[in-house]
Symmetry: C2
Subunit: 238 residues, 2 copies
């Protein structure tokens, strides 16, 4: 495929598989969830947020050039902060705080759905074990994220009296960080996927990433929406 | 804990978390599923069955003595066969054949639920990465399996005209293999978990294993029972 056709094939995966199409997200944005269900979402997604710098650090450790490492170090700073400005993980905890979840409980991961843990761990291991090209390609779900973030923030602010601009502080910086991440990663992937086999590996990596985001919402939906089947040991709303 | 109290603590985990308590299993045994739902179960569980010898081989490669390796080599033979008698993986394919699933499709894993893949892969990696003691402890769900197998075989034969003794041939040898596996593994774990910390690690390993069996049924339940939310790309019954 020519680079533009390859980019179109990558974008088509989002149309088919990105979790913006999952019913849990519609419920979340449309104000159809109760506070306990939003708590369950924030609690579980904390593990995803907290694992992002771990996967980025494992990729950083394998990148061969100064330019690549500098770009990926910026991602780590976005998520871990710099000691003065809070990073994404800290801002996510502002959300779980604002929802009334005990921070020690959140960070302990005791209430996590096993489905969340297995999906997130699969991502960290994928990035650790696959080629640098596939690892970078798997980050390209950010191509689709500004749209979902805009919908989510607007919908949640409008529909829930238990969230505020302050508790949703995680999302605003992502609207500028994600396009910057994508500009670099998409350019890298288009330049380095120079055979049909490498292009297919990148498409598979992006499908895999969509699947694991989707699976996280599947686990939440089953446990906390319908049929409400909470696995033994997982968070039980008060 | 004294060895007997430790064994009781291990068994108590089964009472709380073993997937015999999952509603999907009740539906399966009680004849409440249609053929397509049983197909989905057999198709997904194939990946678990096919991964068992991979996890056993990775443990075998780390075992330090002839006795231990011989015991674990027997498990590999149970699952992979010896070239004349079929092993467990082959017998599982007799089930998917009998249910009318195309064997190439099953083996390709194309229709797998992402939740199945992530849970099974988590098991293989756990066994590869954790201590030998934790890896062996994670096998102890077999303590609870003869009961579920008896219920499953009796219930399925009675309730479904599309299964037979021949298509359920996987299960019968497990009724003798599993107790043999357990006798060895439980004795090993009781002798080697000689500190509170090691005992707790074994209990955690068994909880982890129960969670991943449970998560596989969660994924099946959400996709094929209620609310019937099949993830993009997964098996869609004809």
């Amino acid at each position: 495929m020519a680079p533009d056709a390859f980019e179109a094939a990558l974008r088509a995966i989002g149309d088919e598989r990105y979790h913006i199409h999952h019913p849990f997200h519609h419920l979340l944005h449309d104000g159809k969830l109760c506070k306990a269900q939003v708590q369950a979402w924030a609690l579980n997604r904390y593990y995803y947020q907290a694992s992002i710098p771990a996967k980025d650090a494992s990729l950083l450790a394998r990148l061969p050039t100064t330019d690549l490492r500098r770009e990926w170090r910026r991602r780590l700073e976005d998520h871990d902060g710099d000691g003065s400005a809070p990073g994404g993980v800290e801002r996510w905890l502002a959300l779980t705080d604002g929802l009334g979840l005990d921070r020690d409980y959140v960070v302990s991961l005791r209430g996590l759905l096993p489905g969340t843990r297995f999906a997130v761990d699969a991502y960290v291991r994928f990035v650790r074990e696959r080629s640098v090209l596939e690892a970078i390609a798997s980050s390209l779900t950010e191509m689709f994220s500004t749209n979902i973030i805009r919908l989510r923030v607007a919908g949640m602010l409008q529909n829930y009296d238990f969230v505020s601009e302050a508790t949703l502080a995680y999302f605003k910086p992502r609207l500028t960080q994600a396009p910057q991440d994508v500009a670099f990663a998409l350019d890298y992937v288009k330049r380095h996927a120079d055979t049909a086999e490498k292009q297919e590996a990148c498409l598979d990596a992006l499908r895999f990433k969509c699947d694991l985001l989707w699976a996280q919402l599947d686990a939440l939906h089953l446990a906390y929406v319908e049929p409400g089947l909470i696995p033994p040991g997982a968070f039980v709303p008060a």
